[in-house]
């Protein structure tokens, strides 16, 4: 049994785990769920409060301490090492070469050959490797941090079944998620965090409904500013063509795919930063805006200021450039305009971008993408890591852009987002793109994502 007290990044969050249960930790992005897990796994010291295991207080200085207490963790982002083999990754986690034998016996699964390098595995198998690594230390407590983020619907089911089995055999599981469906599918009890505080302590899942949980997650204000219902616009002129799929101006098109199936190459082929071998892409001349997946390494230069980041890609724009020289005063004026128009919270246009919150950084990326009046806007997982309010705002701006005639291609690993926003849905599977039937629901698109046909 394990409990945490209040923690620095969390303002009074506590959590109690009982043996043999699957306990969901629910909250929207930014609520503090991951932080709580990191404290439990020794990755973060807590300023106040404490961690207790079996009633005794413990001090965790590093993951090694947590592992010594038989606490295992499956991280949100893969922590297997690409160049090492499956066997080596498991052995590394287990702490010795011998222990991995036990791990293998536990989870059989022919697809995971020991000599394969982690980078050669598919996404689902790599996730499985993460689980094996955590199990390799023979844990009593398993911490899962949004494990389903990159999986297709049926793969998620398989994972949850695995998790329930672990609990049936006596282990305890903390399942961090922001998806209500997973809570109801797999958890025995649920704790809800909102903005760093526990608002619902370990209630039995059977006693809750989607409404009560959503209410707890979002607070009395109810659902955050929901995206307005999409208006189905009839698309305008053709702006791009991928294989035989036509993209028209003013359309908001969702792209669904399991990671690693080629959607990235396709989208970046449209933008022009990559030349994909699989797809036949033709794009009408005109500016193309891009919101890349990783905003801190691909979208922005954190050390540089807002002004400078806005200049990225457009340093020769007539607004502030004359024959190779930059008029910084004009650039600054432009930056101030953008900050106001997009409501970016920052201490000023000279502020280094790393001082901005994730949501504001993303707004900056969007603003820059739109400032060139592009005909196409490509967005890769634009709402990842953003809280509900920031997410809703981004959705609104994307829809506004579409209404103004920009063709928006939105890829998200969150299937619900794709289906809700996209007037059309494209599915990429193994380097081939196809269009989902009109009004296709989650199940249908999910099957297409796995190549199973409708």
């Amino acid at each position: 049994m394990k409990s945490f007290g209040s923690v620095q990044a969390l303002r009074g969050a506590d959590f109690v785990l009982a043996p043999g249960e699957v306990h969901a930790l629910l909250g929207e992005n930014g609520a503090g769920k991951s932080s709580l897990l990191h404290v439990a796994y020794g990755m973060f010291p807590s300023d106040q409060g404490e961690v207790r295991v079996d009633g005794a207080r413990v001090l965790l200085h590093s993951p090694a301490d947590a592992r010594a207490l038989h606490i295992g963790m499956v991280h949100q982002h893969f922590t297997s090492i690409a160049a090492l083999t499956v066997a080596e990754n498991i052995a590394l986690s287990a702490g010795s070469h011998a222990a991995r034998q036990g791990a293998f016996r536990r989870v059989s699964g022919g697809a995971l050959a020991p000599k394969l390098r982690a980078e050669e595995l598919s996404v689902a198998l790599r996730q499985r490797l993460e689980l094996l690594k955590a199990l390799a230390i023979g844990p009593r407590i398993l911490l899962l941090d949004e494990p389903s983020a990159a999986l297709a619907p049926s793969e998620i089911e398989a994972l949850l079944a695995e998790v329930k089995q672990f609990a049936r055999e006596g282990g305890s599981v903390v399942l961090v998620t922001h998806k209500l469906s997973e809570v109801f599918a797999a958890a025995d009890r649920v704790t809800v965090l909102r903005q760093g505080v526990t608002v619902l302590h370990g209630a039995a899942v059977s006693s809750q409904s989607a409404a009560t949980l959503a209410g707890a997650m979002l607070g009395a204000s109810g659902r955050g500013a929901a995206a307005p219902p999409r208006t189905r616009s009839t698309g305008g002129h053709e702006v791009a063509r991928i294989d035989d799929i036509v993209i028209r101006s003013g359309e908001l098109i969702g792209v669904a795919a399991v990671e690693g199936n080629g959607q990235r190459e396709m989208l970046r082929g449209v933008v022009g930063v990559e030349r994909p071998s699989h797809f036949n892409i033709r794009v009408a001349p005109g500016a193309i805006g891009f919101i890349p997946e990783d905003r801190t390494t691909e979208g922005l230069i954190p050390e540089l200021s807002i002004i400078e980041n806005l200049l990225l890609g457009r340093e020769n724009d007539v607004l502030w450039s004359r024959g190779g020289r930059i008029d910084w005063a004009a650039a600054k004026r432009h930056a101030i305009r953008i900050i106001q128009e997009f409501e970016i919270q920052a201490s000023g246009p000279d502020a280094p971008v790393r001082t901005l919150s994730g949501g504001n950084q993303q707004k900056l990326v969007l603003a820059r993408a739109l400032q060139a009046r592009p005909s196409i806007l490509v967005a890769e997982n634009p709402t990842r890591g953003l809280d509900l309010r920031a997410t809703a705002e981004l959705h609104r701006r994307l829809q506004e852009a579409a209404a103004r005639g920009v063709a928006v291609l939105l890829y998200s690993a969150d299937l619900d987002e794709v289906i809700e926003l996209g007037e059309r849905v494209l599915v990429v599977y193994r380097g081939r793109v196809s269009e989902a039937p009109v009004r296709a629901d989650r199940q249908i698109v999910g099957r297409l994502m796995l190549g199973l046909g409708t």
Binding site: F44, Q76, F290, I301
Partner: protein, 351 residues
């Protein structure tokens, strides 16, 4: 002056002070008369007008030129550690051209010599640039290795094709009179100093006011974002930055031959290529700052000769001061980014 501007200056001053303190300690520990040695150091650099102009500033010129080139490269994130080799190869080229242009009008001759020097410097770094862009070879290693090849080349030149007519010494004949850069009356200081001042001013404008300077900075601080969001041709930017860096290091070699030594011999450079790294870093890659740090390290080198003459301390020990300066600047920068903790936190916080 804002706090942001004050900090690098304080850092620099602190680094220098620490370097000297450690030098003094080391000297005392080794049994030298530390105050006498430091006094000799000072006199060698600033003791008289002649010392200042003919010793300090003369040595500052190549340091500034190479340092400016390094500023371009470092700004883009490319590490040219081959300044020494580029300097030497350029000196060879400068000497050869200088021996040919006897009948030319002076300004043309000098231009030819310096032009050849810059070209040679750029060519010498071109191979590492190719290796980097095509094969991903770390330019640090390739430029470093070529330093040694350049030394061998100089040795070959002065004992072979370029050796003086009498074949006694391993040195070349003096270059033609028309190829020599005029000096300021009565001193050894030549007009090269004006050239470096001009280049520093130009570079400063370039860094802060042009799209080129912006692109350099973008590549140097976030090359991936520069490539993907900035649509900047990162490879091309890196390559050209390195080539310019080589050209400026080459210019230093040309200036040295045409303005100071007037011929070629072995050990032409007392490590200018490496000292220039300290020059550039200490000035935080600011072209005008490099004028100051270049002058300072020129003073150090000049003083070191004096220290060796008057106090018997080997001149080479100033390399230690340079190394300490580099390390302290690095430490301060690292601290600014990561804080003082010697051990990193257990994990990077997930955003």
């Amino acid at each position: 002056m804002t706090r942001r501007q004050l900090l690098p200056l304080l850092t620099g001053a602190g680094a220098l002070a620490a370097g000297f303190a450690l030098l003094a300690l080391g000297l005392a520990f080794a049994g030298y008369d530390a105050p006498r040695a430091l006094g000799a150091l000072w006199r060698g650099a600033f003791g008289s007008w002649d010392a200042f102009l003919s010793a300090t500033l003369v040595r500052a010129i190549p340091l500034i030129s190479i340092g400016l080139g390094l500023a371009i490269a470092f700004r883009a994130g490319a590490l040219n550690i081959g300044g020494e080799g580029q300097f030497l190869v350029a000196a060879i080229a400068a000497t050869w051209v200088g021996l040919q242009v006897g009948g030319w009008p002076a300004s043309l001759a000098v231009a030819a010599v310096l032009g050849a020097a810059m070209l040679a410097g750029a060519l010498w770094i071109a191979f590492p640039v190719l290796l980097k862009l095509k094969f991903g070879v770390l330019e640090v290693i390739s430029t470093l290795l070529l330093n040694f090849v350049a030394e061998a080349l100089v040795s070959y030149a002065v004992t072979g094709p370029l050796q003086e007519a009498r074949h006694i010494y391993p040195a070349s004949d003096p270059i033609a009179a028309s190829a020599r850069i005029p000096v300021f009356g009565g001193t050894r200081l030549h007009w090269g100093i004006v050239l470096t001042l001009l280049i520093a001013a130009l570079l400063w404008m370039g860094f802060t006011r042009t799209a080129w300077g912006f692109r350099l900075r973008a590549v140097g601080t976030g090359s991936r974002a520069a490539k993907i969001s900035g649509r900047i041709p990162v490879q091309r930017v890196l390559g050209s930055a390195l080539l310019w860096s080589g050209a400026l290091a080459g210019l230093a070699g040309g200036l040295e031959v045409s303005g100071v030594t007037l011929n070629l011999y072995q050990n032409l450079s007392p490590g200018y290529g490496f000292t220039a790294i300290a020059v550039a870093l200490l000035a935080r890659l600011h072209p005008l700052g490099i004028l100051a740090t270049g002058a300072f390290f020129g003073a150090l080198e000049a003083g070191a000769q004096g220290m060796q003459r008057d106090a018997g301390v080997p001149a080479v020990t100033v390399s230690v001061v340079e190394a300490i300066v580099i390390v302290i600047v690095l430490l301060v920068e690292a601290r600014a980014r990561f804080g003082w903790r010697l051990r990193t936190p257990a994990a990077e916080p997930v955003p």
